[in-house]
Symmetry: D2
């Protein structure tokens, strides 16, 4: 039984980790931190988990890391790097913030501002896209969870660049996301009255996950790749849907995806011509990918759907933690989606 | 490993059973029926479950019941009684329809119309409210799942009648329910455009679950009890919330609930003064109950929240099936609620 | 053409006033204040109104009240009383806050805390429930808009107390409300992820609008009346539905409502046996009332539905302003509800 | 005062016409037809309009067209053409179905199947995109309302093709739409439980409105133009948002839109760099258009938002009817959007 600590457990990704760990046979939660809510029972902060026997929320400095195998760090970026830097060397870390995703310090500064406080660690961090970095994750001390939108865009496109079956200069990603990706902090724009019954694009041509797209797409293609990426907010709590317009041959694209994901436990390629829906992966660690030929010759539509809190962050984090600790990577992650 | 068949697997309660059984260590699905969708892969009907290895949908008459231990019958009422009557005697049955809930044939006729086609079976059926009929369920061949609204009203009130701490003539139940209780059949009134962004009362003073209230409340009180019951439809997919106005002493009421539910694995009494929310039980088998004193002396508010598709139907059905088959009744049912 | 000022125009009730005044033939907006957003174009704060020609948002102290006929004050309570106290004597005022609703200073202190800063004004304020105070409103300088929940509960019940057709000690009000009543301020509990897909009771036995119920019900009954009142939050933006359980004769109750509302332009009594829905009054100034007999003899269900931002606050405010300024009280208020 | 008839008044576009006409000073409703609901009061079918004095629903053959100036035909396609063919010659017609949108009978057959029953009329019908066919509409007898998705895509793109500022071979339209566009007929896929909390693409590369895009874009460009068009269903009742990826210079694109829409009463170009939201046009006849430069040089994002039931169908229909009858085209259409 591995001992686990969750830092920053009062946000949605923290709660999702607790939900997943509640059904995990190989890990137990030793401590849960949340600075401003230290002292509270976890069920006071997240009443849906009140039936679980959990340690009270505490401050990070109160945690005894002796015997702790792995820390999930669900703190805000910038805070995360300072906290992780100070963790004892024997603990492994899965970071859910943006702090260790970008390898180039200049890119970090460009997208997140300010200087990085843990440059040495940043160099050693492994990018947490399991399906592409599994070997590196196995031996890593620090794994950087991907952005949820980044995961949703990378999973369907990376195999296509790898196989060389699409034009790298013509990748147009439209993305729909729900509200939980914005976290639990109170913001006017995330009020029910502002979000429900509407849809709009946001962070147009400037979303921070572009940094991850640029890094991973360019690395895979062996040349600079700059995608067009437009995220939209739609009234759902969980779920990301990407609609990706590419140039290539539909059959070659489908084959490349099939080849890459044939043995993956959580990425599921739909029959050719079918498109996924966010409601069909809600609450699960599955990512559904679909391919449909456009009526315009030479264009193909590739789609992906995943749950931003699960495969897009906490589920991915747990999958990586399983690998880092030598466990079956599917442990705690095989619950079916919740529909309706 | 017990062999299970689900009849009527193309509706929401059928899909919920499949979801729950996917995580069950002691049962395997041997057949899934759905007359009009016979021949289809289950994942074509419910794409959220497409990752599961499941038998194709078939017609009931195609099923070989040899070696089958238990049948979940998720057919519409009236159909259910005819199908169950014809099942081989060695299979145990959990029926999710209304057909075997009412012991008095006259009551059945009053609330559902038409004559009952399986009166002999009806006499032997056990009412499936686990927390009150566990012993009878253990040795039953046929268990009749409760109405989802009935479960939500019975669980908080029955212990109060049992303990004699409320006035049986002053029970006023207001109930809020989501749309999945109405099933997957296409109906104008359940369209997104009709349901979202609104709320209204329905089946006022005439809801069929009144038959179950009358039967169970009167039986427990040892005299006729007729509650006032007003259900409302609110725009959520899953979840029932009851707000029950009773006359009695708050402390005695709280104590009676505490006594009855102290050892129950799925009914959770909140700290005194707190009220539950449907979102905190979504997708789980938990029922949360709360007690709050009214400002008007002598009146008390009792609340319950449960997921109509889980504790209100398919979860309850599985809990009962576990008991009938001699398994741990919690098997397959301990997943945490999904929030947000 | 009357000159109008709206103080506190950056909240939802302010925006609703602007929406209604945009279609009003007898009033024009002279100034819009919003302290923290002073200097902004109104369309920057509420893009749905960007097509209107409106003055920029300003600070209150920048407003020249010369020639101003009436001020709508949509400020938070406590602030409102201080601002209104300082307004020049020639302007009429419709206050949408809670500051002038309660006539007894002790009651104000009990429900809102702190001492009232404008006790003299409080004495002269008229309670803004148009259908019961129309004559007083006609000659008032200061009208206090009712609470939105209060309006929804008072309209169906006051005529019954007036006619003496119900037992004043057995009034049980259950109420469902949407999120816009909580305003536009960012609060965790009003986030889409927290509100959608769920329902719960709040402010149980302690909601501030109880002060208004106590005052108005007791006054009408000529004795102390204390109702049981339980509000619930449901995932809709606009709309309040009340379900009121009373003791009395259904026919007498229906007749009393018919008598009181026969000539009212905005209160609509449904045919006997029908219940209203919030979606059928959304965006309008109409209040729908319905009466249904309970199956339990001697009990009756009375329902009301209104839009909390229109008939529950800004629409009511405009109706009162029309009366105060000698205009047709229906001006600017006859738009049909928006459905779906 | 013009006399108006609405055929097919029991659907959402019919109800929207009635809502708009309720506030129209120059038209009165003489008859409302709905074959299967003939005999009912309108308020029984659409309770939100129960306060209006309206004729009962009737069958088409019961209508006396003497003195009728204009007929809105909100019937399903195929039915529409047969009914319109039989209307007396003195009535003008605005058809909201798809029957008269496509000028080429072969195109009609390709997208809608079956032969057209009124080919002579089809030749004379004017395409109802007001901002491009105003002169033709003025003298038309029969105007064919556009598809709602078509309107949302044509309005932002047509001025760019006209001005020659984009590459006609690189137009990629992603569109989000709500549920009311699918009408009031009961369909499993439009149930609240199926639509809420999710998003998916549908009719990929095969949506019928492609016929309108092909026709109008090609006509404007003077060459064949085939766009890529992917519609998505998102959980909102009203509203269409387009996100259009084009090649061109952002400034030239903005200028072309500014030039075309400077004097239009209902099309509103947002400040450069801003994108619209469906919630800001809900319930109104406004279309908001925005332009944002992509970070990829040479690419530009153009957005539009409109209410599918208003500017996308019934509002557009009324605007055209106003023009056909020599009235101010804004009559009955200047209500502000409803938010929140």
């Amino acid at each position: 039984m591995k001992n686990i600590v969750i830092l920053g457990a009062s946000g949605y990704t923290g709660a999702e980790l607790v939900r997943l760990l509640a059904g995990h046979s190989g890990m137990r939660i030793k401590a849960l931190s949340a600075d401003r809510k230290a002292g509270l029972e976890y069920g006071e902060v997240f009443p849906h988990l009140r039936h679980l026997a959990l340690p009270r929320l505490c401050k990070i400095e109160e945690i005894d890391f002796t015997g702790v195998d792995l820390v999930f760090c669900a703190l805000p970026h910038a805070t995360s790097q300072r906290v992780i830097k100070a963790l004892p060397i024997h603990v492994k870390i899965v970071d859910l913030s943006a702090d260790f995703r970008l390898r180039d310090p200049a890119e970090y500064q460009k997208w997140y501002g300010g200087e990085h406080a843990a440059l040495e660690l940043q160099k050693t961090a492994v990018y947490g896209l399991t399906e592409f970095y599994r070997n590196e994750i196995r031996s890593a001390r620090l794994v950087a969870g991907t952005g949820c939108n980044a995961a949703a865009g990378l999973l369907p496109v990376l195999p296509l660049l790898k196989a060389g079956v699409i034009d790298p200069d013509e990748i147009i990603i439209n993305l729909l996301t729900g509200v939980s990706g914005a976290g639990r902090a109170a913001r006017e724009g995330m009020l029910h009255a502002e979000v429900s019954e509407g849809a709009h694009a946001y962070a147009i041509a400037s979303h921070r996950h572009l940094g991850e797209f640029d890094q991973e797409f360019s690395k895979m293609a062996g040349r600079e790749v700059k995608v067009s990426f437009t995220p939209h907010l739609v009234p759902q709590n969980r779920g990301i849907l990407t609609t990706i317009n590419v140039r290539g041959a539909a059959e070659a694209i489908y084959t490349a995806l099939q080849a890459h994901y044939a043995d993956e436990p959580f990425v599921y390629l739909l029959p050719f011509g079918q498109a996924p829906a966010t409601r069909h992966v809600r609450g699960s660690n599955y990512c559904h990918i679909g391919v449909v030929a456009e009526r315009v010759s030479g264009r193909v539509l590739v789609f992906s759907a995943l749950d931003n809190l699960t495969k897009g962050s906490s589920g991915q984090a747990l999958q990586n933690a399983n690998i880092m600790l030598g466990l079956d990577e599917r442990l705690g992650l095989e619950m079916a989606p919740l529909f309706p």
